[in-house]
Symmetry: C2
Subunit: 226 residues, 2 copies
């Protein structure tokens, strides 16, 4: 497999001095427990957080902490990063073990998003820890999203439901994990949500417990008509 990394470099707007760093960032855990991109992802996530935080902090001097946090979450969340990964066809460059290759791992949101974060770390390392350069690269990645984001960004369903209930002095919703199926890499969580105003139990499903809870909360909101 000899992927043409120069295509990818053009799309991300950074030319690596040492391609090893890029390849490291693209190597999924399915290639082995020792040499993979998880450590890069750990650091890349923090680097992304600080760059996005700085942009939002400066761009929205009147937004309070809650609004800043929600905007940051919406920019760095898995689905956003996976969308960006798809735009640059990152899936074509992932280095996956045979199992993940077969099961279509190059299309999985979590794998794509993790590789995006890992690439951020790789750029930082490859540029000799040049945070200004990294900031420029990430700014170009996020330009249109940073331009269009607003402090009135949608709250997530759990937050909306909680605020709705608190505003009416009603008890908080009770989420309960109902079951988990599938092995470590492909778990599906089912969660129930009970709110005092309805007798029925609402069910949510997702690849994480949190997503399942969001799903359940959105069903309660739909019932309420919010």
């Amino acid at each position: 497999m000899t992927a043409d990394f120069s295509l990818l470099e053009k799309k991300i707007g950074y030319k690596f001095k040492d391609l090893t760093h890029l390849k490291h960032a693209l190597t999924h855990r399915s290639m082995g427990a020792v040499y993979n991109n998880e450590r890069y992802e750990f650091f890349g996530d923090a680097l992304l957080g600080v760059v996005i935080s700085r942009h939002l902090f400066e761009k929205f001097p009147d937004a309070d902490e809650g609004k800043l946090s929600r905007m940051r979450s919406s920019l760095v969340k898995e689905t956003t990063l996976a969308e960006m990964a798809n735009t640059i066809h990152l899936g074509d460059f992932l280095i996956l073990g045979a199992g993940e290759l077969k099961s279509g791992g190059f299309r999985r949101s979590s794998i794509l998003a993790d590789a995006m974060e890992a690439m951020i770390c790789a750029i930082y390392i490859d540029s000799n820890h040049n945070l200004n350069l990294l900031d420029d690269v990430l700014t170009s990645w996020f330009t249109s999203r940073l331009d269009s984001i607003s402090p009135e960004v949608q709250k997530d369903s759990k937050t909306k439901l909680q605020e709705y209930l608190q505003g009416r002095r009603l008890p908080l919703p009770e989420y309960k994990l109902f079951n988990v199926v599938g092995d470590n890499h492909k778990q599906s969580f089912t969660v129930t949500c009970r709110v005092s105003m309805f007798d029925e139990l609402f069910t949510g499903i997702g690849t994480t417990k949190r997503k399942a809870e969001q799903d359940a909360a959105s069903k309660v909101l739909a019932k309420i008509g919010e």
Copy 2:
């Protein structure tokens, strides 16, 4: 109130060009919804995260992502930051509204930890966004903790319990919010935890749902003898 900020500056190892930045970082929300340290805390938290991540990433080249994450959590968590705040008597410098002053807000862990994060942002702003300088200052704050931390840092109780059960192919614990008492600023959560191996329900209490769950998990672990 004319606090001698030079004392605090000596302790944190940074002299402000413009004390307004420091005072902003020390101003709690109880002083008003518009001018307070919450925005600083938002950005300071991200700045702290990236500096600590860099240290851990470089110091522990063999630690996997899970170990790095756990070490980072233990360094940046509220109780650690509040401990550091107490060492430098940060409580004496907090600018609190009358209500918080009366109820002893200057001793509250969450307020102290938030002010520490806000100070990190203030240093960054005051130094004209000099991340290298900020890194030096934070390194001095965390020297002894960074020296003594180990990748074998304690896992939290929920993680330990989950791993214990997964290792035995048992169902995951079911946490359920039992009730919440107190107003917004002083809530107490009670959570129940059910595990398939015991008939009894374990109860945990804490100032957040997560802490209550940790408390419940620790009781299950105690029962198991872990």
